[in-house]
Symmetry: C2
Subunit: 122 residues, 2 copies
DNA sequence: GTAGTGGTACGAGTTTAGTCGAACTATGGC
DNA sequence: GCCATAGTTCGACTAAACTCGTACCACTAC
């Protein structure tokens, strides 16, 4: 599965998109915070699915089909965004997420491969 | 600093050493647990120092010069060992630690480089 | 207008993690 | 035996995190 990390295209945001919600700059990403936010299985699932199954540009949190209340999902997506792992843009009603691939590869090379190789506990 | 990860010799334990304290097998290492245990700055410091400054085989926890009570250090070393990041052997009075380099590189390639590249927050 | 949708914000309950003091064990030197 | 040393274990406190219900907001369709 690791080959995906390198073949996964570093998607550039098309022009005219909504601005991303507030997020830490690439230089401000902290390894300990990124690790902490990825230590949760649910968040690891979210990021892995974004990496492997996001065909289009990005996805709203309903797309993941996670069986949790909305307030729980909001909590986890916010944690991922505040740690700098994902960015989110507002599209009318929906708030769509994508992995900050370029920034993560620049700051923490190899991290994406670790996420791709992960398999949830049985 | 990243070059160290590949040049760092994968030390084999000499024969006749004390057995390691109980620790998870290589195949049982869980990424989410390893990330959780590395999300703490103090533990990240411990592992990084073991990787970069351990000249001999391994080191007791007093060697690190960490300004914390012994019970706190015991807690963190135990967390690292139970997550599979370090192994510990009893040498008379001392309990010496080393990073499980071979196992970590086998299961989570690239992780060691992330630890080596880390710089503590100012 | 109303209703439905995608999501946030707040707050509470529960759990987990970090910190540390005090008491304890085990080893080695004398 | 005594004493110092290296570390553990226990318990308590505190802080943080996860979960989730409720209320709320913004937008769209009708």
């Amino acid at each position: 599965m690791r080959a995906l990390a390198t073949t996964y295209r570093a998607q550039e945001a098309p022009a005219g998109l909504p601005e991303p919600l507030p997020q830490p700059a690439c230089d401000d990403l902290r390894l300990e915070q990124v690790l902490a936010v990825l230590a949760d299985p649910l968040r690891l699932t979210i990021v892995q699915r974004l990496l492997t199954q996001a065909e289009r540009y990005d996805h709203a949190c309903g797309w993941f089909g996670l069986d949790r209340p909305k307030s729980t999902l909001t909590h986890h997506f916010k944690a991922l965004r505040e740690a700098g792992v994902i960015s989110q843009r507002q599209y009318g009603l929906e708030r769509r997420s994508r992995v900050r691939l370029n920034d993560l590869n620049a700051r923490f090379p190899g991290l994406i491969d670790l996420i791709l190789d992960w398999t949830p506990a049985t």
